[in-house]
Symmetry: C2
Subunit: 494 residues, 2 copies
C-alpha cells in the first residue's frame, strides 16, 4: 500500500489557509454532534519514527472539546500488561459511547517496536487475526475506527532526526538506535505493508498518508476525519430496520460440539450426606494442590457460572473458593450493568476483570447475560444478540490461546425445586436478602429462559471452552460434579 503513495505531495501556505480555516470549525461542530448521537470514535495514528504522529495528535485535538476525548500515547507494556491477554490493555481503554479515543501508536505499536529484531512472519498471524476480530466486534457495536498510517521516506526521516538532534530541547528524542534503524528503512516499509494488508478490513480500513509535507498531511487527515464523522452521523440518522422477535440466526465460525438440552438432563441425581463430606474434603485438597502447580506454571483459569435462580451458584462457588488460596483467585459478581458499563460494548467489563496468569478468575454470572437476560427481556436488539454468540466464542478463543483453562458451568434445577427454594428463602431470616421480586418475575418467563439456554449450548459449546451442565437438584451432587470436572480438566492440562 505504501508504494502507491506520492511522497512529493505538498500544499503551499496559500493553498492550505482556506482549507484549514474551514476544517477547524467543521471538526468542532462534528464532535458535538458525535457526542449527542453517542457514537464512539477511535482515531489512531501509526507510522515510522518522526513521521509526525505526535504533532498530528497535537493539532487535531485543538479543534475538539477536551471533555469529549482522551489521548493515548502507547508505550511498551508494563509487567502487569504481560500477565493478561495482550489486547486487554487496549480493550479496557475503549471509549464510552459518544467519546473519542485518539492514539499516538496503538495496538499496532508492538509491530514497530519489534522492527529490526528477527521476527518470523508467521508469529504475527495470530496478532493480526486478533486485531481484526477486536476491531470487527467494536464496529459491529457501533464504534467508528479511523486508522491513519503516516509515511515518510528514508531521506525525510534522516533529515528530521538530524533536526531533532540539533535542537537542544529535543535532542533526547532521538538516539543512536534511531539512526541505526535508518539502514532498515526499506525493510520497515515491507513489514509495514504486510501489516497494513493483513489488517486492512472493510470495517476498519487503513488510510496511508504521505507525511512529507506538514500542511498536506494535516489537510488530508483532517478532511478525511471530518468526512468519516459526517457519514457515520448520516448512517445513524437513517431509520434502523424494524426488529422482529428473537429467532437465532447464527453463522458458526468455530467447530461446535453437540450438547444435551435442558430437557435431557437428569435432575434427580443426588449424593448422600456422608459420602458428600468425604469426597468434598478430598477434592478440595486436590484442587488446592493443583492451584499451586497452575500458579507455578503461570496458567490462568477462567470459571464461568450461570444457572437458574436459586440453583445454588453461591454455595457452589464457595466450595470451590474455599479450596483455593485467596491470593490466587478473584470472584467477580455480575449484577445489572452500571451506567458506565451500559455505555461501553458489553464485553468491556469482562476484559477489565480478567485474572492474571497463574490466577483463577471466577465469574458469578458472565458475558452470557447478553444471550440470556438481554435476549429474554428484550434489552438488546435481536441483531446484536445474534452477533453475540460468535463474539463470545471469539472472546473465549482469545482466552484459550492466551493459555487459559476455561470452565463454563450451567447449574440446572426444575421449576418445582426452584419454587421450594424460593419459599424456603422467604421463610429463613438469614436467607431473605437472597430473594427479590425480580426472581419471581424471572420465574414467569421460565420457558423463554429455557429456550435461550438451549440456544446458548447449541451455539457456544466449543471444544476449547465447552459447557458443563451441572444437575443441581441436589446441591451436594452439583458441588462434587463441579469440583471433579475442574480437577479432571486441570490434571489433563498439567
Amino acid at each position: 500500500m505504501l508504494k502507491e503513495l506520492d511522497l512529493t505531495r505538498k500544499l503551499s501556505k496559500e493553498e492550505y489557509a482556506p482549507i484549514a480555516e474551514a476544517l477547524g470549525p467543521r471538526l468542532t461542530m462534528l464532535q458535538q454532534r458525535i457526542i449527542q448521537a453517542k457514537i464512539p470514535v477511535i482515531i489512531l495514528f501509526e507510522g515510522p519514527s518522526a513521521a509526525g504522529k505526535g504533532a498530528m495528535v497535537n493539532s487535531l485535538i485543538l479543534h475538539f472539546d477536551a471533555r469529549g476525548f482522551t489521548v493515548f500515547n502507547t508505550q511498551d507494556p508494563e509487567p502487569g500488561d504481560l500477565r493478561v491477554p495482550w489486547l486487554a490493555r487496549f480493550a479496557k481503554q475503549m471509549p464510552a459511547y459518544g467519546r473519542m479515543a485518539i492514539y499516538d501508536r496503538s495496538w499496532y505499536g508492538g509491530w514497530f517496536r519489534r522492527f529490526g529484531r528477527k521476527t518470523g512472519k508467521g508469529k504475527y498471524t495470530r496478532y493480526f487475526e486478533e486485531i481484526n476480530t477486536f476491531e470487527r466486534q467494536l464496529t459491529d457495536d457501533g464504534y467508528l475506527i479511523l486508522k491513519y498510517f503516516l509515511y515518510i521516506d528514508k531521506k525525510e526521516q534522516k533529515k528530521r532526526f538530524e533536526k531533532l538532534k540539533r535542537v537542544k530541547s529535543t535532542s533526547w528524542r532521538v538516539n543512536k538506535a534511531d539512526f541505526k534503524n535508518l539502514k532498515f528503512h526499506k525493510e520497515l516499509m515491507e513489514i509495514s505493508d504486510q501489516m497494513l494488508e493483513a489488517t486492512n478490513t472493510s470495517y476498519a480500513p487503513w488510510r496511508p498518508v504521505a507525511a512529507t509535507d506538514k500542511r498536506y498531511v494535516r489537510a488530508t487527515v483532517f478532511s478525511s476525519i471530518a468526512d468519516e464523522l459526517e457519514s457515520a452521523l448520516k448512517i445513524r440518522e437513517e431509520k434502523p430496520a424494524q426488529e422482529t422477535d428473537f429467532a437465532p440466526q447464527v453463522k458458526p465460525c468455530f467447530h461446535l460440539l453437540p450438547h444435551k438440552t435442558i430437557e435431557e438432563l437428569d435432575l434427580t441425581k443426588a449424593i448422600a450426606e456422608e459420602e458428600y463430606k468425604e469426597r468434598l474434603k478430598s477434592l478440595q485438597k486436590k484442587l488446592f494442590k493443583l492451584q499451586n502447580k497452575l500458579y507455578l506454571a503461570k496458567i490462568p483459569v477462567i470459571i464461568a457460572y450461570e444457572g437458574n435462580d436459586a440453583a445454588g451458584k453461591g454455595g457452589n462457588i464457595r466450595r470451590v473458593a474455599s479450596a483455593l488460596d485467596a491470593r490466587g483467585y478473584s470472584v467477580t459478581p455480575i449484577a445489572a450493568p452500571t451506567p458506565d458499563e451500559l455505555s461501553h460494548q458489553y464485553l468491556w467489563r469482562f476484559w477489565k476483570a480478567l485474572p492474571r496468569t497463574g490466577h483463577f478468575g471466577i465469574f458469578d454470572r458472565t458475558w452470557y447475560g447478553r444471550v440470556l437476560v438481554e435476549r429474554v427481556e428484550g434489552f438488546t436488539p435481536v441483531s446484536r444478540i445474534n452477533q453475540a454468540y460468535n463474539e463470545i466464542n471469539e472472546f473465549e478463543y482469545m482466552l484459550h490461546r492466551w493459555g487459559a483453562v476455561i470452565f463454563k458451568f450451567w447449574l440446572a434445577i426444575d421449576q418445582d425445586e426452584q419454587l421450594r427454594r424460593f419459599e424456603e428463602r422467604e421463610n429463613t431470616p438469614e436467607k431473605q436478602w437472597k430473594i427479590t421480586q425480580e426472581d419471581w418475575r424471572n420465574r414467569d418467563k421460565w420457558n423463554l429462559y429455557t429456550a435461550a439456554v438451549n440456544d446458548m449450548f447449541r451455539y457456544t459449546n466449543t471444544d476449547f471452552a465447552p459447557w458443563t451442565a451441572i444437575e443441581a437438584g441436589d446441591k451436594r451432587y452439583a458441588r462434587i460434579k463441579t469440583l471433579e470436572t475442574m480437577i479432571t480438566a486441570i490434571e489433563k492440562r498439567l
Copy 2:
C-alpha cells in the same frame, strides 16, 4: 505494642467449635446489613512472613457474599505505581459505599519489604504522616478501617518456614532470604513496633494479635470484626445531629496566605489584539520548551481550573494545551459525578486522574466542586464541607511533597459580562451547546457562589498551592496572565 502480646494463647478444639459456629452466621448477617447501610469497610492484615495473613483472609471471606468484597494481595509496586504519588495506587482501590476491601498486606507493606535493608527512621515519618491523613480522611467520610497485626515469635516463624519447605507444593513459598531474615527477628519486632505506634490512631487503631495458635487468632480476629461491624451499624442508626445552614468552621492546619476577595479584583484589565497575538506566541513557545525540561526532570505539573460559568476556561485551557506536546499532558473534564463516583469519597476520582511524573495534568473544574457547587446547592452535609477545606489542603500537600508544581486558577468575570456571554452563546449556532438551563439557574445564586469562592480563597490559599485570581473580563488578558503565571513559577522551580 507487640511485647504485651501473650504468644502462648491457645484454644482447644472443644473451646473453639462453639465460638466458630456462632461467628460464621453472625459475620454473614452483618455483611448484609453493612451492604444495606452502605458502610464502606477496609479490613487489613499485616505481620511478618508466615504469620498466617493469607490463611486468615481465606477463612474470613468464606463467611461473606463474594458480591460484597474484594481481596487485595499487595505486592511490590509496578513501574507505573512509582510515577504517581505512592498512596495513589491504594486510594484508587478504596471500596465503594457498602463494599469491603480486604488486604493481605496493604499500604504498610513497604515497611516490611524494606526490613533488613538500611533505612533511616526519619525517612518514614512522612509516610506515616500521609498514612494517618489518608486513613483519617476516609474515616471522616464514613469508612470503617480495621487493622490487624498478626504476630509470631522467631521460634514459631522458623518452624513454619521449615514446614513450608518440607512440603513439595509449598516449598517455593520460602527462600534463602526468609531463613536469613530470621536472624533479624528482634529488629523486625522493634521496627514493627515503631510503625504500629506511629500509625495507631483513634480513628484507625491497630489490633495486634498473637498468631501462634490458628484457632485462637481466628476466634479473636473474627469476633473483633463482628463487634466492630456491629458498633458501626449502631452508630449509623443513631439520628445525626440536625444540620444547619452553611457557616464555615475551619481549623486551618496549614499556613494560609492572605488573598484578595472577588470584590477586590479589577475586572477591567485588558490587552489589545496586536499585543496579545505577539505575546501569546512567544509565551507558548516558552512553555513548550519548559515542558521538555520538566519531562526530563520528571517533575509533574497540576493545573486546576475553576471560575464563573462562561469565564472562558475552555478557551484558556486550549491556549495552554496547544503549547504542549499531546504526549505529555491530559485534560480531565469534571462533570457531575457518576453513580460510581458518588459512592466513593469525593477525592477518589481525582486520585485516579493524577498525571505521571514529568506530565501535565489539567483539570477543567476540580476537587473544589466540594466547597463550591456542593456547598451552594446543599448536596453535601455542612460538616463534611467544613472538613473538606482541610482535606483538600492535605491532598494538595501530598501532591506538593510528591514533587508537583501546582497551579490553581480562578477565572473571574462580573454579572454583566456573564449575561453578555450567555446571550452571545444562545445566538451563535456553534456555541449553543455550551449553554444550558443549569447555567441560568447558577446565575440566580451569584451571591452564594461569590461567598463560597471567597471562603475557598481564605481557607485553601497555601504557600505550596496558592490561588491565582485571573481577571477574565477580557479573555486575551486572562490567557496571557495564565501563561505568564505558569512560566514564572516553572522557571523558578527548574
